[in-house]
């Protein structure tokens, strides 16, 4: 590790000892889970590199951007529109929330029965180990589930730059009006932060950048419909996760490059898994880095994940933003339209999600659906039961898993997932 990074981390206020520990655990998990995979596409080397530098080079880049006058905005949710951030001369990054850290500290501020993702958000702050959070000029919280909504009140006591965005809970006209008002308020907040007035040309350009990123990942999704599957679910998940960290233009190029390779793999019938391997659709809660536990368990049974119905996956990346408008107002309408379609479980009712799961089941030629719910995540755990019923009524095999970031249930999960895969064979 270069001294430059250590100085940078120190300047950011990280706890170097704890941070070393985190990087060591992360590095080991990556070796055991990612590098142990067979028949990976060569172009995954880019994403391996990104992960190896996730707290190094990428942070250095962000610090350089800051020095050049750009602002960094940290977010925890796919409802925070990247188009608006980019148009206001700011870079949007996803903040760390995928591992348990400093849990004793966390439980002084949050009830024990809070979901792992929210606890992790606090753990990374309290443990002083997330350089993205420390580099952020603005942290956006969003009122999605009750857990997050109330947790942001407490987070506000430990960070100085929290901005809270309200999110509607129903897909109605008043719901859409609320989202629109909140996106305008966010636009203003970004403008105040960076001192840049967002104009139509800037917004149009940023819509194009983000759309290109989405188009590239849509291309990746569609290549996973092949049998044999040219890329493992773990690798595809990593690409989905890097979506939230990387420079958007470079990310787009890198995804397109791997897609070129995947196309030639499909032509040569080279798979990451053998032809006929049971095909799994994962559906449910977001999977933040380094929460690879369940996908890893699934793919070590010989089944392959071909799609993620998840915020870190198709729920987050589905649909482009219409860029045909020529005024800020028209383009803002398009942004609102695009995000208002997200079928997050905080919405009631939420029929789009059911339709999307069934649609993905058909398109990806899925054999079985594994529903992933984070323990104590009320919206997704509640929705898991009707999802299971809806799928069972169509004779689609489904396994409902409720877990967290700890490794204590790996044995039981393995047995359950293996038994489910045995049923599919």
């Amino acid at each position: 590790m270069s001294d430059d990074y250590r100085n940078m981390w120190k300047d950011l206020g990280l706890d170097l000892k704890s941070h070393d520990m985190l990087l060591e655990i992360l590095g080991k998990a990556y070796q055991d889970i990612y590098m142990a995979q067979k028949d990976r596409p060569e172009q995954m080397s880019y994403f391996d590199f990104v992960m190896s530098e996730v707290h190094g080079l990428r942070i250095k880049e962000l610090m350089d951007e800051k020095a050049a006058g750009r602002k960094i905005i940290g977010s925890y949710c796919v409802f925070v529109p990247e188009e608006i951030a980019l148009a206001g001369n700011a870079t949007l990054v996803g903040l760390c929330s995928g591992a348990d850290f400093a849990m004793e500290e966390v439980e002084r501020l949050l009830p024990r029965n809070t979901c792992a993702l929210i606890k992790s958000t606090f753990g990374f702050k309290l443990g002083k180990v997330c350089p993205y959070l420390e580099a952020s000029d603005m942290i956006v919280g969003e009122n999605t589930c009750d857990g997050k909504k109330k947790a942001y009140e407490s987070l506000n006591d430990i960070v100085s730059n929290l901005y809270v965005m309200d999110i509607p809970q129903m897909k109605t006209d008043p719901g859409r009006s609320l989202l629109k008002a909140e996106y305008y308020r966010f636009k203003e907040a970004v403008e105040n932060l960076s001192g840049v007035k967002i104009d139509a040309a800037g917004l149009k350009k940023s819509i194009e950048i983000v759309n290109n990123k989405r188009k590239a990942i849509h291309r990746l999704y569609s290549l996973r419909k092949a049998d044999p599957v040219p890329i493992s679910g773990l690798d595809a998940l990593l690409v989905n996760q890097v979506f939230f960290y990387d420079n958007p233009v470079r990310f787009t190029e890198s995804v397109n490059k791997i897609c070129d390779e995947l196309e030639s793999r499909i032509e040569k019938r080279t798979g990451a898994f053998p032809e006929g391997a049971p095909r799994i659709l994962m559906s449910g809660c977001p999977m933040a880095v380094p929460n690879w536990k369940l996908p890893w368990i699934i793919e070590t049974t010989g089944a392959v994940i071909v799609g993620e119905e998840s915020c870190v996956g198709e729920r987050g990346a589905r649909n482009l933003t219409d860029d045909s408008g020529s005024t800020v107002e028209e383009l803002m309408e398009a942004v609102v339209d695009r995000y208002f379609n997200i079928d997050c479980a905080i919405f009631t009712p939420n029929p789009d999600r059911f339709n999307h799961i069934i649609q993905m089941y058909k398109e990806y030629r899925v054999d079985g659906v594994i529903h992933f719910g984070l323990q104590f995540c009320q919206p997704y755990l509640m929705e898991a039961i009707p999802v299971e019923k809806a799928l069972e009524s169509k004779n689609i095999p489904v396994l409902r898993i409720e877990t967290d970031y700890s490794m204590e249930d790996v044995g039981q999960l393995k047995t359950r997932v293996e038994a489910f895969v045995e049923i599919l064979k």
Binding site: E402, T403, E408, D409, G411, Q412, L413, K414, T415, R416, E418, A419, E422, I423
Partner: protein
């Protein structure tokens, strides 16, 4: 051809050897602290051509003995299905897991439920509770059957239940009554799991806890129907594994 199945559970290891689908050998040992040494001892002098492993130690066995593995869920499905033609639901309560498995008319597994992490309401729970009350595991169910009251034990967690039991003992409650309350709590949990997979056709109760007469009776009372228990309920997983070893030539 001789085909074997080995079920490496958290408390015991079972071995079944079949010749033309007939049992020619069955053995059992405690798992202890070194399951592979125990497995090797169990296999000592046993003749077989193929062996399949199941149970929580199956992956270790796979590495050590280079044998194929199947989950307990499939093993119990196949094992119980071979003994009872019309089985629709299997309840397996073992040392650290409880499983409810639903089969369709062709004997294929359609759905299952399993406790996700702690050993609440499993054999281990009953074992620790019997010790707290001063019974051997064999006495426990028989003594509970002599109780008459409807004492409620609320805790499912072994640690909490133990302190609940201690405070009931301190109140002078009859150990038999406490034992019955504990059995009821195990059955409540198991029935909940059975209902989630839906109960069709015959119900087969297997795993070590199926040897407990009180659990059997309470299950039948709660479900208001007969529950079938195989002669050797702990051997069902090993039997299923042995049958599968014979199928996959």
């Amino acid at each position: 051809m001789y085909c074997a199945g080995i079920d490496i559970g958290s408390r015991t290891i079972e071995l079944v050897v079949l010749k033309n689908r007939e049992i020619v050998e069955k053995r059992q040992v405690d798992t202890g602290f070194d399951p592979m040494t125990r497995a090797r001892e169990l296999l000592d002098g046993v003749e077989y051509e193929r062996i399949f492993a199941t149970g929580y130690g199956r992956n270790l066995f796979e590495i050590t003995f280079d044998a194929p593995t199947i989950t307990e869920i499939k093993a119990y499905g196949v094992g119980a299905g071979s003994l009872f033609q019309k089985v629709g639901t299997i309840l397996d309560i073992g040392g650290q897991d409880t499983k409810a498995i639903a089969l369709n008319n062709d004997g294929k597994i359609t759905k299952f439920e399993m406790n996700d992490r702690c050993a609440a309401g499993t054999g281990k729970f009953l074992e620790i509770m019997s010790r707290t009350l001063g019974y051997t595991i064999d006495q426990f169910g028989a003594e509970a059957l002599k109780a008459t009251k409807n004492l409620q034990i609320n805790s499912m967690c072994t640690v909490f239940a133990e302190s609940e039991v201690t405070s009931l003992v301190a109140k002078g409650e009859d150990p038999k009554e406490i034992a019955l309350g504990l059995h009821r709590s195990v059955v409540r949990r198991a029935v909940g799991m059975l209902k989630r997979v839906s109960v069709g056709n015959d119900i087969v109760f297997a795993g070590g806890v199926a040897k407990n007469p009180c659990i059997r009776r309470l299950l039948e009372e709660t479900l208001k129907r007969q529950v079938l228990v195989p002669e050797d309920p702990q051997m069902i997983g090993a039997l299923g594994a042995a049958l599968l070893a014979g199928e996959n030539k």
